[in-house]
């Protein structure tokens, strides 16, 4: 019985053992950690516990990468089979749901765990730098491994339940944000909310929500890592967080097995063509005008950015969001300890960045997926004008974001940062976002799924390796008396140069893909 069940899993594990790419990924992760270790050793002169700082960074980096892998890598396990129409073939081969799930998801989990096992020895070298013990490292790895197993199986459940991979990814992302960030924030903010009289103490609804938040906070991997890395830690590796993660993973896998047939019974190829139901009705009311003189702009505005209907809906939503922020500004301070000004600008910036990134994932991926890239390249226009026309169409859909910024500038004219903070915070973030968007566009032409998570991983890993070097250079320039403007000049130049190089890479890749 087990032979058939483990067929797919066995095949995947064999494939993982043989494939060059898998070995190179393991080697790259080991080398990355070695570089971080050397950097930490070189920079350890002025630090008291450089090993602890390095390992802390490694833990948070691992958690971030696992959180990105959830929506990007694990959430497509079943979804890609659904969208490519091959799930039916797997079921025709008389493979059970357990077998399919083990083969598609558990194999990916095993691949990730081997990478994890590969970096454990170098992580233990953090002890040599000072600041923590082997016990702390081992317990941290167990906690993060349990988190990885939980994320993989939760993403698998999303992938089974959701029809499309994008839906599964979005749902997984919301789940992670909610459990890792929102729930602990609410738990921490609860005394503040009660102290300010914004919520009633011991209210029934609040007790229920508060209980859930408290539970999620207690079993949060972040909380567990903080506990492990505190001085004097002497507990065992198996904690409430580990048990809860493993239990949740097992439950998610079990539910996936139970509901697999129900959610995959009538799955065929993903239907193309127009939208359905109320969305179709709404779109009909906002009938698309003729393309006019800018057909590429018209096309991407209506088919990627959503057209006038989405424009109106987004404008109303964003304005409603602003109104909600202004109306509940006392909640903002109690929850996040930020002023209304800071929160409004942060929300506006986050929405703008999110729109840019979504635009980046779609702008060429849709052409590639629909097979229209060769036709596009045959147009009597150069690649640059085609690309920027498409970008213009997508950015037209961001007019509501521009409207939101206009409202903010009018209502809150003071920016929440001074000149130093502009150079120390805004400039590096802008350059980071610029590089991230370019990477997203590039990866969307290379990989079928997960371009955005892959771009985020690249930026995170790159920042972890290059960040200390850039920080040292900035500090040296600042110490020489050039001020924050001069100190962060290299960050600006590096960001622009990197973006220009990525644009060239995108052009080359587009030409290559179009020719295939």
């Amino acid at each position: 019985m087990l032979h058939g069940t483990l067929t797919l899993l066995t095949r995947s594990l064999r494939d993982n053992a043989r494939r060059r790419a898998a070995h190179f990924v393991r080697l790259a992760s080991v080398l990355l950690l070695l570089v971080m270790l050397i950097e930490a050793h070189v920079a350890s002169g002025g630090l008291g516990a450089p090993g602890l700082r390095l390992f802390q960074a490694l833990c948070y980096l691992s958690i971030a990468l696992i959180s990105l892998a959830g929506p990007g890598f694990f959430a497509s396990a079943i979804g890609e089979e659904k969208e490519e129409g091959t799930l039916g073939l797997l079921k025709l081969a008389d493979l059970s749901s357990v077998s399919i799930l083990l083969g598609k998801s558990t194999s990916r989990l095993m691949a990730a765990l081997t990478v994890f096992a590969g970096i454990l020895p170098f992580a233990l070298l953090s002890i040599t730098l000072g600041g923590l013990s082997a016990q702390q490292i081992w317990c941290s790895f167990v906690a993060i491994a349990a988190f990885l197993i939980l994320v993989a199986n939760l993403a698998l459940l999303m992938s089974v339940v959701c029809r499309r991979t994008s839906s599964a990814s979005a749902l997984m992302l919301l789940l992670l944000l909610g459990s890792l960030l929102l729930a602990p924030a609410l738990h921490v903010a609860r005394p503040n909310l009660e102290a300010d009289g914004l919520v009633a103490k011991d209210g029934r609804a609040l007790s229920g929500v508060g209980g859930v938040c408290e539970f999620l906070n207690d079993v949060s991997v972040l909380n567990r890592i903080g506990t492990i890395l505190s001085t004097g830690f002497g507990e065992g590796a198996m904690s409430a967080q580990v048990w809860a993660s493993l239990g949740g993973a097992f439950a998610a896998f079990a539910v996936s097995c139970i509901v697999f047939d129900r959610f995959t019974e009538y799955v065929g190829a993903t239907p193309g063509g127009g939208s359905e139901g109320w969305w179709r009705t709404l779109n009909w009311r906002f009938r698309r005008p003729r393309p006019g003189h800018w057909p590429l702009v018209w096309k991407d505005f209506h088919f990627l950015a959503g057209g006038r209907a989405v424009l109106v809906v987004k404008s109303l939503l964003y304005l409603a969001l602003l109104v909600a922020l202004f109306w509940k500004d006392d909640w903002i301070w109690s929850l996040f300890q930020m002023s209304l000004k800071e929160m409004a600008w942060c929300v506006a910036a986050a929405l703008a960045v999110a729109e840019l990134l979504i635009c980046g994932t779609k702008i060429f991926r849709s052409e590639r997926a629909d097979g229209t890239l060769p036709c596009l390249m045959m147009l009597p226009r150069n690649l640059v004008s085609i690309s920027y026309a498409k970008l213009g169409g997508c950015l037209l859909g961001s007019a509501p974001t521009l409207l939101m910024f206009t409202v903010l500038v009018t209502v809150i004219p003071d920016t929440p940062f001074d000149q130093d903070e502009f150079f120390e915070g805004v400039v590096p973030i802008c350059m980071g976002v610029l590089v991230l968007v370019h990477l997203t566009v590039l990866y969307s032409i290379i990989v079928p799924w997960g371009a955005l998570p892959l771009a985020l991983v690249t930026v995170l890993v790159g920042a972890a390796v290059i960040g200390p070097i850039v920080a040292a250079a900035v500090a040296a320039i600042y110490s020489a008396g050039h001020g924050s403007g001069g100190a962060f000049g290299p960050v600006l130049y590096a960001g622009l140069i990197l973006s220009a190089a990525l644009q060239v890479a995108i052009a080359i890749r587009l030409s290559t893909v179009a020719a295939q």
Binding site: L47, F122, L125
Partner: protein
């Protein structure tokens, strides 16, 4: 995303550490230093006017935190207790260590998240010269001099590092500790200017301050100078103040830019005035637990090779794929055990401290001490560190990483959370009792900028085999030959600026300080030599040079000879208790001997 995750991870811990408080208070005024400014790398008093807005007494603790960049907390937290009666206010003073103008400061009290204010970053400037005047003193309203409330004067000499000079036109309302702190400050080299009061006469002092009643225009009090200016406060205009009161000391005048100094020294980079950081980094090298890094990196290379091409070949060529997983996991386990073993400390390693200190003699067996310590913890623990004496101030001098610790200023205790196998830098100021030096000049011939002869005697138990002795007169440092019966000059001497200014910023590449005349590059072979190498930066740190200057020529007041004795530390300067069983250190004793006793 990393920032959000790490912030989420640390949010709970931060809230749990805040001390309790009772009552409601408001911070009405914030005053940095004596004139609103702060020198770099100095303990600077931060005075807060705290008002109790309720009827019941308010008590608790104020916590001051420092951060750099994007809210990255650094250094320890500073805590000062308060007790304020209902509907009243009083000044509460903390004395944090200010490194530069890039730091941001936050003050909080109690666990309530709203009990928080952002403290403005102090403006950087030179040490202050201020007029001590009460807030309601109308006679000094028109003064061009910066005023300072006498209530803001620190209660210990350790809080006066940012004060250069004081102008008095009336007797200040000081008592007890403040008078002692003032006299100590003056003894250490403070500049006191006495001017006419409202009655047209100099102020008349009594009690402990009666020593200021000397009628001469210029008198000395230890290394300090008292100058009488026959003008009233209102008569002192900006030019007069600049010429008579704010005129810098000779050592401050002769400075030049860094570029011209590098050029003059043929490309050798002079040590900056960051003596504190330099000394603490050197101590860290002495304190750290030993590791065989070449073995570690060799093992690291072997592991990389085991992963690729080792496990790669295993996965590609073995007939059964399961061998790959067994082999890969086996490699991981073996090397994990090996690296864990390499990272462990030897059984002989103990928690330890290494320290150097500058102890300026205020009186017999009483010193104004600045102590640099690096502490290393073997197994990790929470330590409560304190020493004998009063006015104890602590900092970790750290602007790169947060230090889990609280400097409890009221009790003079540093609570420090040290992870296992980690180190921590500690800079401490204190007024401490010490050994009886009894340094006397048996023979002293000096004048016209030249020290021709000096023979010293000192008390029993002062001499130590590894002791170094120097005498600094005017612009020259003279090496002395020390023995059990005293010390006398040798023929070796060097310009003061050359003595303190030729260190390369990289540890272990510095010229041996007392062999500067032979210009030899020597790697310290012993711990003793490593400590002795720190004598020059310690001497430099005593000068309190102006911000951002690189002294071309450093001269002391020719009215006295500065004797510098560098020897092993005595028990009085070590941390109390046996939390650190291995404590080792050196002390630079500074004794100023008048060339002509009693003369200005």
């Amino acid at each position: 995303m990393l920032i959000a995750l790490s912030a989420a991870g640390g949010a709970v811990a931060g809230a749990a550490d805040a001390p309790e408080s009772e009552g409601t208070i408001e911070i009405r005024e914030i005053e940095w230093g004596f004139d609103g400014k702060s020198p770099v790398q100095t303990f600077v008093p931060l005075s807060l006017l705290v008002e109790n807005t309720g009827a019941t007494p308010a008590k608790g603790a104020l916590r001051l935190k420092k951060s750099v960049g994007r809210n990255q907390r650094v250094d320890v937290e500073y805590e000062q207790t308060y007790f304020i009666s209902g509907f009243s206010s009083r000044w509460v003073q903390l004395t944090p260590y200010v490194i530069g103008d890039f730091e941001q400061w936050t003050l909080s009290w109690g666990p309530q998240f709203r009990n928080k204010v952002e403290v403005p970053t102090p403006r950087m400037g030179e040490r202050a010269t201020v007029l001590i005047a009460e807030e309601n003193d109308t006679t000094a309203i028109g003064s061009v001099l910066r005023r300072c409330d006498p209530a803001l004067f620190p209660t210990s000499v350790t809080g006066t590092d940012s004060l250069r000079g004081i102008v008095l036109h009336a007797v200040p309302s000081w008592q007890g500790a403040r008078i002692q702190a003032f006299l100590d400050w003056l003894q250490r080299g403070g500049r006191l200017f006495l001017v006419h009061g409202a009655d047209g006469e100099y102020p008349r002092f009594s009690g402990e301050l009666a020593v200021l009643n000397d009628a001469r225009d210029e008198t000395r009090f230890g290394s300090g100078r008292i100058t009488r200016i026959p003008l009233s406060v209102d008569d002192i205009d900006a030019d007069t103040a600049r010429q008579l009161i704010l005129e810098p000391q000779p050592a401050d005048r002769l400075v030049e830019s860094l570029d011209s100094q590098v050029q003059r020294m043929s490309g050798n980079f002079p040590v900056s005035i960051e003596f504190d950081d330099y000394i603490l980094r050197d101590l860290m090298y002495l304190t750290r637990f030993h590791r065989n890094w070449w073995v570690v990196y060799l093992a690291a290379v072997l592991y990389v090779l085991a992963v690729f091409p080792g496990s790669y070949l295993l996965g590609r060529r073995s007939a059964d794929w399961r061998w790959f997983y067994a082999g890969f996991l086996g490699i991981s386990v073996v090397f994990s055990a090996g690296f864990a073993r390499l990272g462990q400390l030897g059984s002989s390693e103990r928690s330890r401290t290494r320290s150097v200190a500058v102890a300026y003699q205020l009186a017999d067996r009483m010193f104004d001490v600045t102590q640099y310590t690096c502490a290393a913890s073997r197994n990790g623990d929470v330590y409560s560190l304190t020493t004998d004496g009063s006015g104890r101030l602590f900092t970790s001098c750290q602007d790169l990483e947060p230090v889990k610790g609280v400097a409890r200023l009221a009790d003079g205790v540093l609570d420090l959370d040290l992870p296992s196998a980690s180190t921590c830098r500690i800079l401490q100021r204190a007024r401490m009792p010490g050994p009886a030096l009894d340094v006397q000049a048996r023979e002293l011939e000096a004048g016209d900028g030249v020290l021709r002869n000096l023979v010293l005697s000192f008390g029993p138990d002062v001499y130590h085999d590894s002791m170094l002795a120097c005498a600094w007169y005017d612009g020259t440092i003279h090496e002395m030959e020390a023995g059990p019966d005293g010390a006398r000059l040798t023929t070796n001497r060097a310009a003061g600026s050359q003595f303190i200014n030729t260190l390369d910023a990289t540890p272990w590449k510095a010229q041996r300080q007392l062999n500067i005349w032979t210009s030899t590059d020597i790697e310290p072979a012993t711990t003793t030599e490593a400590f002795q190498r720190l004598m020059a930066p310690l001497v430099g740190s005593t000068l309190r040079l102006p911000t951002g200057t690189y002294p071309k020529d450093v001269r002391l007041d020719p009215a006295f000879v500065r004797v510098l004795l560098f020897r092993t530390s005595s028990d009085e300067f070590q941390f109390e208790g046996n939390q650190f069983p291995d404590q080792e250190g050196y002390v630079l004793y500074v004794v100023d001997l008048p060339v002509a006793p009693g003369a200005p």
